[in-house]
């Protein structure tokens, strides 16, 4: 079932964090979030810590999924860029490498043009990182994926999870 399982190591995380921390500065953004297409939060940067990031990730993925469905109806492959304008904050959402969603939250200190420009470059860098992750996942699954933490768990481990 988990044929496209996403496995992220610390070095991957650091690379991703490096890209989005730079993007926060370059784009004058309030907050940046990297979300897996299935709704899992991968990384965040900026001054918006403390908000409900789990919900943000799930809803962003739902939004991308819904507009992806709309795109197919009108004969497009995807709508990879979304922009939501608010009274105070704005949301710029980009689908990177068909797999990862880059969410940029910005206010009047920045502009849509600047965000778009900077996201383009950062998106390409993120795509490279996730390409490497994908390649490694494929190699691991071809070789049995033996280093996964779950390869050694026992039934007792699973039972213990529910005995709390």
């Amino acid at each position: 079932m988990n044929d496209t399982q996403l496995v992220m190591y610390d070095e991957d995380y650091r690379k991703i964090l490096g890209v989005i921390q730079k993007l926060v500065k370059d784009a004058n953004a309030k907050g940046i979030f990297v979300v897996d297409r299935n709704g899992q939060l991968i990384g965040e940067a900026g001054e918006m810590r403390g908000i409900d990031t789990t919900s943000l990730a799930s809803l962003t993925a739902g939004c991308i999924a819904a507009t992806g469905g709309l795109a197919k109806i009108v004969g497009e492959e995807e709508f990879p860029i979304h922009f939501h304008q608010g009274q105070r904050d704005n949301l710029h959402i980009t689908l990177v490498a068909h797999r990862i969603i880059l969410v940029v939250i910005f206010d009047e200190r920045s502009s849509l043009g600047l965000v778009r420009l900077r996201v383009k470059k950062a998106g390409a860098e993120l795509a490279k990182v996730f390409e490497q992750i994908q390649k490694r996942s494929e190699q691991a699954s071809a070789g049995g994926g033996g280093d996964a933490p779950f390869s050694e768990i026992t039934d007792e481990d699973i039972d213990n999870l529910f005995s709390m």
């Binding site: 992220m8 650091r14 899992q40 529910f162």
Partner: protein
């Protein structure tokens, strides 16, 4: 599709509650939400119509505890059960790690159960998944109603392959956590098998 994060030492899995309209998918999640320790759960999101029918999905993030030093997190989703929301159901099934099929025990809903089960198989197949190979639990909900069909009849109809199943009354919580534990266990066992 599970997400294993070595950096934060977390494992995230996605579980989808499927079933015909008004079978009690959202009620299952609401009961879990109400009875779970606040430290272990996130906010429950319901994208519903004004009449509280699920429009897109319900979402409930749960943390179950640690396994081999990894925090295990389960993201529970429901699909909209009404027949015409099929496009949304397909989207929500993407990347699923485990499925709970919530059946409505009332005799007059048997056809709706069968239709929804066929729809589940079809939508999984579209993504290259087979229900038989997916961590999968059946819950017979609304067992308390006077018009509930006999258990062996529902089993024969909806569970001919003898998958793990539970009787439930989601409004008062009977069988809700048993179902959740069973699907979580099935997902983790599947992860274990896959990583061998």
């Amino acid at each position: 599709m599970s997400f294993i994060n070595y950096s934060s030492r977390e494992i995230n899995c996605k579980i989808v509650y499927y079933g015909p309209g008004l079978c009690g998918k959202t009620t299952n999640l609401q009961f879990i939400y109400n009875k779970t320790n606040p430290d272990l759960k996130g906010k429950m999101i319901s994208l519903a119509t004004e009449t509280e029918r699920t429009l897109f999905f319900d979402f409930l993030p749960l943390a179950l505890g640690q396994i081999r030093g990894f925090k295990t997190r389960f993201h529970l989703y429901t699909v909209p059960g009404q027949v015409f929301y099929d496009a949304s159901r397909k989207l929500i099934l993407k990347g699923v790690d485990g499925v709970v099929f919530v059946a409505d025990s009332q005799i007059e809903r048997m056809e709706a159960n069968l239709e929804s089960l066929d729809n589940l198989k079809l939508n999984l197949a579209e993504q290259g998944y087979e229900l038989e190979k997916t961590p999968y639990i059946i819950q017979y909900n609304k067992r308390d109603l006077p018009n509930a069909a006999p258990l062996d009849e529902i089993r024969k109809l909806l569970n001919p392959n003898g998958m793990p199943d539970f009787e439930a009354c989601a409004t008062v919580g009977t069988g809700v956590f048993e179902t959740l534990k069973a699907v979580a266990r099935a997902v983790l066992s599947d992860l274990k098998q896959m990583s061998k």
